[in-house]
Symmetry: C2
Subunit: 233 residues, 2 copies
Amino acid sequence: MVNEDIKNNPQLSHKVTVIEKVLAKNNKMADKIRAEFDKHKITCFNMMSSPGSGKTTTLENLADKLPYKFAVIEGDLETSRDAERIRNKGIWSFQLQTGRACHLDAGMVKHAIAHFPFNDVEIAFIENVGNLVCPASYDVGAHYNMVFVSVPEGDDKIEKYPVMFRKADIIIITKADMLEFFDFDITKAKEAAYKLNPKAPVVLLNNKTGEGLDEIIEWISKKRKEHLEKLGA
Amino acid sequence: MVNEDIKNNPQLSHKVTVIEKVLAKNNKMADKIRAEFDKHKITCFNMMSSPGSGKTTTLENLADKLPYKFAVIEGDLETSRDAERIRNKGIWSFQLQTGRACHLDAGMVKHAIAHFPFNDVEIAFIENVGNLVCPASYDVGAHYNMVFVSVPEGDDKIEKYPVMFRKADIIIITKADMLEFFDFDITKAKEAAYKLNPKAPVVLLNNKTGEGLDEIIEWISKKRKEHLEKLGA
């Protein structure tokens, strides 16, 4: 079954039409959120991955090393654990609970934006619901997308979840300390990434030793500068 | 933001209404697929998890040990790797490619059913798209749900993705060989599972040594017997 079959299936194609309308509305609201970030010269990064790839741990480590003040908007189905973990590092965070929804959308982020410390930070991170498919389709008002995939998930995941990796501005391979235990071929993963998305750098990250974190910080700084230049600031 | 907020958000509630209609149609088709399996006395299991939790590897190992003939319907966004892996074990398999869709639904499974070797097998496995959220909402015509979560994903994932774990008939914790490297508390995970879903047994599986596989085979046999009894066979 290929995409064409889905389009020709009346049940599914009806769903696709409605989802397109929902997406158009979502994009409009996302633009408003982005304009609000721009107004305050805040650069916003949308973090996406499967559950348990290490997004929150990366944020905890960035709290110690990133040379910018930042705040975090967290998305989860039901718990508030991730926001608590970030708050324990002295960072402002807001937990969005999506219930059954498999991704954040701009309408949800708007709720967090109402409380956001616009005047106190330079960078915003939105940690999306753990899901390697759906979040890729919903603009949440961020400027750049960070996509994480962990070594235990396997080196075939980039090829198997192409929609997400095509959207990435950076691809971060986490749990690098697990390379010796898993049959994960870094060269193969990098080739798959390059084939789908030649512009996104691929960084190997070990959150236990901090290896790779400097490279991510360098990338964030570069994107921050690019964003400010675009704003003419 | 809680579920009530989502319901009161006109953009989202419109989407919810349409999705309910799509789900009703989906359930009708799923019942037809289940009836087709019943007619041929085939028991069908829907396998769900995050990407890379070990569903395909478990199937490869079941190919060597399960005392029933089985066939596999595979769901992936774009590749056919999983179906090839299963075929390499001498097992019939059919690859459904969902494109951007984050889960299988009954309409897609219907395409595979047209080719299914109904007269040659006793058990069908449907390996869903790697996603710990969406597949939980779509009946694909299976009789029982198997939900996988791997040790590297973390012991908080059951609590964080409750919709999926409430739907499970068995919860399988994979990559048990990684317990010594991760701060994964089995007791905590089992308690979280019991709280959400007291009926689903929790099995620890090591696909490298095969530890836990017998317990899963025993569970499959039990469900197979239950299903045949229901059919009066």
